[in-house]
């Protein structure tokens, strides 16, 4: 009798599993299949033509795809590292503040509330070459004569996108690292100081290891939705000008919906999914390692 009944955790997790299977797993299996077909939305019958790995061959030999792929990895690397550093700096600044910490913390959370699409839009507005805040300020201060074409020049546009991305996500790092700093026991720091450590050594060997798990939580959360950068890029440049800020995600959207080549877009999508999974698993393992390290020391 008892053996036939489902165990409690199974029963409790069942709804979550069902929903995720229906909305994520099954469609993904379907899209995995269709990445082996020349499927086009306009011609449904192509869904049943099997062409093996030809889609993958085509995108792997496509230079544009690799450029977009490389650019995506570059953006993630630059953005995540800078967000981590700036977040750490911001958290240390706020932790040092003696008064008004509550207000500061609230202000710090400000960018988190902005939807990525709003972030993209507001930075598009600010970096606009004609009426943008940035150019207006630079010109009023006499730093530059001509308007700088922020979103038109490829390199500048990449920088502008990175800035938008960093602005929107640094606060996640700052807040979680600040939580770590506040939760940290004071004795080890004092002990280190008594033992004659310089402030830098105290920070490097006592504070930082304690704060790292919190940073990895932030990293894990970020890697769960790095692809939200799609919204920002879509609004700011939409991959343009002439594909010079094309990321993997905008390329997928263009191939699927503008060119209607679903099969090929699905093949690309699998690369982007793989990329996200690699990021997430990497930080998950870092998180586990950092946790055990702390557990051993305190």
């Amino acid at each position: 009798m008892k053996a036939r009944r489902l165990s409690a955790p199974t029963l409790l997790l069942l709804p979550a599993v069902i929903v995720l299977a229906a909305v994520v797993v099954v469609p993904l299996i379907l899209s995995f299949y269709s990445s082996f077909t020349p499927f086009r939305l306009t011609r449904p019958e192509t869904f049943f033509t099997f062409i093996g790995l030809r889609n993958y061959q085509r995108i792997l030999s496509d230079w544009n795809f690799w450029v977009a792929f490389g650019r995506t990895v570059l953006l993630l690397t630059v953005a995540l590292n800078l967000e981590m550093l700036l977040g750490l700096g911001l958290a240390l600044l706020v932790e040092k503040a003696t008064r008004g910490q509550r207000v500061l913390r609230t202000i710090m959370m400000f960018p988190m509330m902005f939807s990525p699409i709003l972030v993209g839009f507001q930075f598009k507005f600010m970096f606009n070459d004609n009426i943008g805040l940035v150019n207006n300020a630079l010109q009023s201060l006499g730093l530059t004569e001509r308007a700088i074409p922020w979103l038109i020049d490829g390199k500048l546009a990449f920088a502008a996108i990175s800035i938008a991305e960093i602005w929107s996500s640094t606060s996640i790092f700052a807040i979680l690292i600040l939580a770590g700093l506040l939760a940290m026991p004071k004795e080890p720091v004092e002990a280190a100081r008594v033992d004659g450590c310089t402030p830098w050594q105290t920070f490097r060997y006592v504070t930082l290891p304690f704060v790292m798990p919190f940073a990895y939580i932030a990293m894990t959360i970020r890697s769960l939705d790095v692809a939200r950068a799609y919204d920002i890029v879509k609004i700011m440049t939409d991959g343009g000008p002439a594909g010079r800020t094309e990321l993997l995600w905008t390329l997928i959207a263009r191939t699927a919906y503008s060119d209607a080549r679903m099969g090929q877009a699905n093949a690309m999508a699998y690369f982007s999914i793989l990329l996200s999974i690699v990021f997430t698993v990497y930080f998950f393992r870092k998180l586990a390692a950092a946790r055990t390290q702390i557990g051993a020391e305190w």
């Binding site: 955790p9 409790l12 994520v24 400000f110 509330m113 902005f114 009426i131 979680l176 799609y230 997430t280």
Partner: protein, 288 residues
């Protein structure tokens, strides 16, 4: 004496540097938002002016009035988008929280085989980029004929939110001591009663804040919504924002006004939950 003076000077410089750094950081954080609010209140002529007008000469709420006075005058049906956004976000949040509570409780209170693998697996479903997921969903929804319906988006958002709510709620249930529920059971409660009378009220604030987090995710989502919605039947605010860019020119003032309308609810909600949110995410950090 001399050493004293120089040490004092050094400390004062450090304090000033800290203040300045803090001020600059906060300025960078606040400025984009403030600029949008300001721009939504200025006439278009002033936004476009060359050389720039820094101090607003006239302030008006025209953009907001135009936006809410319907399709004819404001250009885009903001009210419809607003209603869609509310319906979709609230419904998907409620469902995601119910599912997340069951799942989070299972992770916090039960031991079972493959627990961490299961947790990682749930998280991995969340890593699928929205745009990559939208391709097969678009296809499936087209077959089921639920594109451009509330139901379709709600279903997608529930799936999007469940992994994260499970993570958060797991954290909140862990903060409630196990002994409390056990004591209640010894006193004659059933497990079900012990949950609702003891554990649920204690984890309640945390659960509420994960609900708000889920709400914000749905409220702000764009990649899926932009492909799965077509018309005023189901278009949400983030998709509606694009209506202002439909032509070659962009109505910056209108867009700024709509941005403010989107951000105000998010701002209020985040303000309410900030404390619990950090607690839930980090509760497992030190004592894994």
């Amino acid at each position: 004496m001399d050493a004293n003076a120089s040490a004092r000077l050094k400390r004062r410089i450090a304090t000033v540097a800290h203040r300045v750094g803090l001020f600059l950081a906060m300025l960078v954080i606040c400025l984009p938002g403030l600029w949008i609010v300001l721009s939504s209140l200025r006439p278009t002529v002033e936004i476009m002016a060359k050389p720039p007008v820094w101090i607003p000469q006239q302030v008006s709420f025209d953009a907001y009035v135009a936006m809410f006075s319907g399709v004819g005058k404001g250009g885009i049906p903001v009210l419809d988008y607003f209603r869609n956004s509310l319906i979709i976000s609230i419904t998907s949040t409620v469902i995601a929280i119910a599912i997340g509570m069951a799942g989070g409780y299972a992770f916090a209170r039960h031991r079972f085989r493959g627990k961490s693998a299961m947790f990682l697996g749930l998280m991995l479903t969340r890593t699928v980029p929205g745009i990559a997921l939208s391709l097969p969903l678009f296809f499936v929804y087209a077959k089921l004929d639920i594109i451009d319906t509330h139901f379709g988006l709600i279903l997608a958002y529930v799936a999007l939110n469940v992994p994260f709510t499970i993570w958060l709620i797991d954290g909140f249930f862990r903060q409630v001591p196990k002994d409390l529920a056990e004591a209640a059971q010894i006193d004659g409660c059933t497990r079900w009663q012990a949950f609702w009378q003891v554990e649920f009220p204690l984890a309640g604030p945390g659960i509420a804040s994960s609900g708000i987090f889920a709400f914000l995710t749905s409220w702000n989502e764009f990649a899926l919504a932009s492909q799965l919605t077509r018309s005023i039947n189901s278009k949400t605010l983030p998709v509606g924002l694009l209506d202002y860019t439909a032509e070659f020119t962009i109505d910056w003032r209108g867009m700024c006004a709509l941005a403010v309308v989107m951000i105000v609810p998010a701002l209020l909600l985040t303000f309410i939950v900030q404390k619990h949110l950090v607690g839930g995410l980090t509760s497992g950090a030190v004592k894994g």
